[in-house]
């Protein structure tokens, strides 16, 4: 059995603080002055079980997570303010992952984005990289691949 390259020991400090010490994670502190760095991960996926599972995995890794069922839901929530990294599905009813990213860009929000898709094509992969994605994961993905992307994506302020 190979040891996963990512574990709680190497997880960002803020995450360990939030979870390990039993304090509420940054996402639940919205509106309070204690949230300085946008260190929450937002997960956007129209598939409820994938959304729940991804959120669960990220929480088990010590991250603060918010989940959204659609691009519109995320955009309307104003969660981008405290989001340090966005993990979004590519094909969703309504606005796609790509459209979500360009919406954010046009709002002047520069978020590291990790695209996730259940059917990866070379064209989508190339487009994602061209759009400056922090990662492109094809479902199902290993924890190691996710960790790799997160390490690349997460702002240093959260470490």
């Amino acid at each position: 059995v190979t040891k996963p390259s990512y574990n709680i020991e190497t997880a960002p400090i803020w995450a360990k603080l939030g979870v390990e010490r039993g304090r509420p994670a940054p996402a639940t502190q919205l509106g309070t002055e204690r949230v300085a760095a946008p260190c929450c991960i937002s997960v956007v996926d129209d598939d409820a079980s994938v959304r729940e599972a991804t959120g669960g995995l990220l929480r088990s890794l010590g991250y603060a997570v918010r989940t959204f069922g659609s691009a519109e839901e995320f955009l309307d929530s104003g969660a981008e303010a405290d989001t340090g990294c966005l993990i979004t599905d590519l094909s969703m009813p309504g606005r796609s992952g790509f459209e979500l990213q360009s919406d954010l860009t046009s709002r002047g929000v520069a978020l590291p984005v990790i695209f996730v898709t259940a059917f990866a094509t070379d064209a989508d992969r190339a487009r994602a990289l061209e759009a400056g994605a922090a990662g492109f994961l094809s479902k199902p993905y290993s924890e190691a691949r996710l960790a790799e992307c997160l390490q690349r994506a997460f702002p240093p302020a959260c470490d």
Binding site: I8, S49, V50, A53, L57, R59, S60, A118
Partner: protein, 346 residues
């Protein structure tokens, strides 16, 4: 629009003999009054019809034409009007003959060109058939992959999460349990996707007939022959005779065979060109079944890597059979024989 023009011309070409016949019979009726030198009068009418050429022609030309004209007019017993009329008619006949000849030639050429174009189109279609088949399969594979990958992604993420919760200094059993419960649910959901797919296949198959698999495999290999030869692949087939018929959908089973062959060819393309070998065998499997094996000398691959294998599995499952991958380069499909009472359909 173009073909309508052609049809019109063809009708005209067919009508021409009637016109021509009428003209000729008219000419023959006048023939008794016709001078034997009538063909010599040709230049006269010709020049008369083209005053321009008459003007540019030298005085000698004009003089000759005039002489011939006079000669024709001077024939005793022929009034000028009576002689000019049959001459015109003769020229009309010749012109019509030439016109008809030209028209027939044009139509023949057109028909030949059309036949050549048809053959080219047929060849192009034959070349295209495997490609469209591929495209359709790719599309289907994409939708299946999408449907199945969703619960798989959830399962993998939940499993990792459960492990993480348990690995903590103080294991969070509640979170781990929740993740495990989600795994169970996702597994059932994946199974549901497969079941729906299988049902779709069953619903689509309409008529299930008894099929001689050896015939079907032979036909399918014929279809794939060009692709096999183009890739420099040697094919070995062993199709045992007298195998029991199986009950199934002809189109789906043909797609299965073609897909397995296509996957083998894809694998062979990855290896060296000189030792490309594809082997297809069909033999009895136990007491009541048939086993189809498609193997190649290409590099081994994981069954998950092969697009199109999931669709093969679905087809085989819809026929109550099993599909297994051996040594990464051989696929064995086992299908149950049809109940003894059924006859092989033609």
């Amino acid at each position: 629009m173009r073909s309508r023009t052609i049809r019109r011309w063809r009708a005209l070409a067919l009508c021409l003999p009637l016109v021509l016949g009428a003209a000729l019979s008219g000419a023959r009726a006048e023939a008794s009054h016709f001078p034997p030198t009538q063909p010599a009068a040709a230049p006269e009418t010709g020049t008369a019809a083209h005053p321009g050429s008459l003007a540019t022609g030298g005085p000698s030309t004009r003089g000759d034409a005039g002489a011939i004209h006079r000669a024709a007019l001077d024939r005793p017993g022929d009034t000028p009007v009576a002689s000019a009329h049959p001459t015109l008619r003769g020229y009309a006949t010749v012109a019509l003959l030439l016109l008809q000849g030209a028209l027939i030639l044009a139509l023949v050429l057109h028909a030949l060109r059309r036949r050549a174009a048809g053959e080219r189109a047929r060849a192009a279609r034959a070349q295209l058939a495997p490609m469209t088949r591929r495209a359709a399969m790719d599309e289907m594979t994409a939708s299946i992959a999408h449907e199945v990958n969703q619960p798989l992604a959830a399962i993998v993420a939940n499993a990792n999460a459960a492990r993480r919760w348990l690995d903590r200094p103080e294991p969070d059993l509640g979170e781990a349990r929740a993740a495990l419960e989600r795994i169970a649910g996702d597994g059932l959901r994946a199974a549901e996707v497969i079941a729906t797919m299988r049902q779709t296949f069953r619903a689509a198959d309409g008529a299930r007939v008894a099929i001689d698999l050896a015939d079907l495999v032979r036909d399918a290999l014929l279809l794939a022959r060009a692709e096999i030869e183009d890739n420099g692949v040697t094919m070995r087939t062993r199709l045992d005779p007298g195998l029991p018929p199986i009950l199934g959908n002809r189109a789906q089973l043909q797609q299965l065979v073609l897909s397995l062959v296509a996957q083998a060819l894809d694998a062979l393309q990855a290896g060296p060109r000189r030792s490309r070998q594809l082997s297809v065998t069909l033999a009895r499997d136990g007491a009541e079944g048939v086993a189809l094996s498609v193997s190649d000398t290409g590099p081994e691959r994981l069954s998950d890597d092969v697009p199109g294998l999931s669709i093969c599995r679905a087809i085989v499952a819809a026929h109550d059979g099993t599909l297994s991958v051996r040594r990464g380069s051989e696929v064995v499909v086992r299908l149950p024989a049809a109940p003894a009472a059924t006859e092989t359909s033609p």
